[in-house]
Symmetry: C2
Subunit: 251 residues, 2 copies
C-alpha cells in the first residue's frame, strides 16, 4: 500500500554504506530506491534519515527524483554514532521462517553480531547469509539502531569453540537443569559477552560436556519450561539486556 513520506514525518530511516557528511550526495540501493519512489512516493524536498554504522544519524532530503533514480543529500547530523552493548548471539540455525524472525528480533534486541553454528542435532544444513543480513538491516532501520548486526558465516560447533575469543563470556543456554538462572549469572556483567542457543533437539551430551569444560563458558537456565530454539534465544537476549545491557537506558 502506498504511503506518504511526509506523513511518515522523517520516520523513514535508511542504512547506507556511503560515508555521511554535510552536503554529501548519497545514492540509495535498488531496493531502497524502489521503496522511496513506489511505496513512499518520495518527492524532491522530502526528508529521510540515514545511518551507516560509523557517522551517526543524518537528516537527508530527496534531492532529485527521476523515473529511474533517486538522489539523497545529507543535511545535518541529528545524532552521534552510538553502539549497542557488546553482545553476540551464537545460534543453531532453524528452519526458514523462525530464522528470519530470530534475526529480526535479535537485531531489535540489540545484538552486535549473529553467529550461526552447526551443532550435532542441527537439522538445517544450509543457511542464507544474504537473507539474514537483509533481515538484520531491515530490523536495524526500524528499530532506531545506528548500526547493523554483523552476520557471520556459519561454522561448526567445534570451530566456534576452537576460535572463540577467550575474553568473551559465553552464556550457554543449557537444558540440563542444573545451571544458574541467566538473570542471576549475568547481573552486572562487564565486558564482551555472547549467548549460545541450541537447535530444536538441544545440545547433545558431548557438546554439553565440552562447553562446561571451557573457562569462558557460563551455563545458564531459562526456567522450568521447554522453550523452542527461537524463543530461548529471544528470551535470553531480552534478559541479558535487562541485567547487563542497555535496557535501563531511555529512548
Amino acid at each position: 500500500m502506498a504511503e506518504d513520506l511526509k506523513e511518515a514525518g522523517g520516520k523513514v530511516r535508511l542504512y547506507v554504506n556511503a560515508p555521511l557528511a554535510a552536503g554529501i550526495a548519497v545514492a540509495p540501493d535498488e531496493g531502497q530506491a524502489h521503496y522511496l519512489m513506489h511505496v513512499m512516493r518520495a518527492k524532491a524536498g522530502d526528508r529521510v534519515t540515514l545511518f551507516n554504522g560509523r557517522d551517526g544519524e543524518w537528516m537527508a532530503e530527496i534531492a532529485e527524483v527521476s523515473k529511474r533514480a533517486i538522489a539523497l543529500r545529507c543535511l545535518s547530523r541529528i545524532a552521534p554514532q552510538a553502539e549497542v552493548p557488546d553482545l553476540w548471539l551464537a545460534f543453531a540455525p532453524i528452519k526458514k521462517t523462525p530464522s528470519d524472525y530470530l534475526v529480526q528480533k535479535a537485531a531489535e534486541l540489540g545484538v552486535r553480531a549473529l553467529l550461526p553454528v552447526f551443532t550435532r542435532r542441527t537439522i538445517v544444513t544450509r543457511i542464507n547469509p544474504e537473507r539474514m543480513a537483509a533481515n538484520a538491516v531491515e530490523a536495524a532501520q526500524q528499530s532506531g539502531r545506528l548500526s547493523v548486526p554483523r552476520v557471520a558465516a556459519g561454522v561448526s560447533f567445534e570451530r566456534l569453540l576452537a576460535d572463540w575469543p577467550k575474553e568473551r563470556t559465553l552464556y550457554f543456554c543449557d537444558e540440563g537443569g542444573d545451571a544458574l538462572p541467566l538473570a542471576d549469572a549475568a547481573t552486572g556483567h562487564v565486558g564482551p559477552a555472547a549467548i549460545l542457543t541450541g537447535p530444536e533437539g538441544g545440545f547433545d551430551p558431548a557438546e554439553r560436556a565440552a562447553l562446561r569444560a571451557l573457562p569462558f563458558v557460563v551455563p545458564v537456565t531459562l526456567g522450568p519450561r521447554i522453550l523452542r530454539a527461537d524463543t530461548a534465544a529471544l528470551a535470553a537476549l531480552a534478559i541479558w539486556q535487562s541485567v547487563a545491557g542497555d535496557f535501563s537506558q531511555q529512548h
Copy 2:
C-alpha cells in the same frame, strides 16, 4: 514425515479435557488421533503423557488402535498439577503470523492468560480466538506446561481498563521514554500481574494518559530501541519471569 512414538520415548504430551485418573479411558480429539495414528504411527502399548490443567501429568498407553479411532488409557500420575506464575499478557492484536508467534511464545514463556485488546491504533479489526487457543494448546503441550493459557475474547481498550481487577498490577510497556526499566519495576513483585503491549503504532497520547492515571498501572520501558509489537511482548514476558516469575526454577 512419519516418526515413531517409541523413539519419541514418552515425550509426546497431549492436552485433553477429560478428567485423568488411574485406569480411566481417554479419547483424543480428532487432530490428536490423526497425529497419533498417521504421524507418530502409534501402536497398542505405546506411551504418551496426558494433562488437562487440573489433575497433573499422567502416563498413558495406547489401549487400542483401529482404522478410524484410537483409545488411550491412563496408567499413573507422573507429576502433580502445577500452575505458571499469575501473569497475564494483554496485547493489541497484530497481523496473523506475528499473532501466531506471539501466542505460541507467550504460552512457552508461561503466561496464564492472553487478552487481546483493541486500541485506537490497532489495525487488525478481527481476531480468531479458536486459532489462538489452538496455538496455545500446541505450545503448552511441547513446553511441558501442565496448563494451557486462557485466551480471552477481544475487548476494547476502554473496556479492558474499566473491567480491570484492581489488585492485578498492569505493567504497561510505554514508549514515552520516561518510565522505569521493567526489570527494576518488577523485581520482587508479589501478587497478580499483567503485561500490556500496544500495536505497531504504539498507544496514542490519550491512551497513555488514561493508563498513567490508574493506580494499578506501572509504566515501564524496554530500553532505547523501538521494538516491534510482538518483540516487546516477548521481551517483557521473559524479563518479568526472570525477576518476578519462575525462571529461577529448574527444569
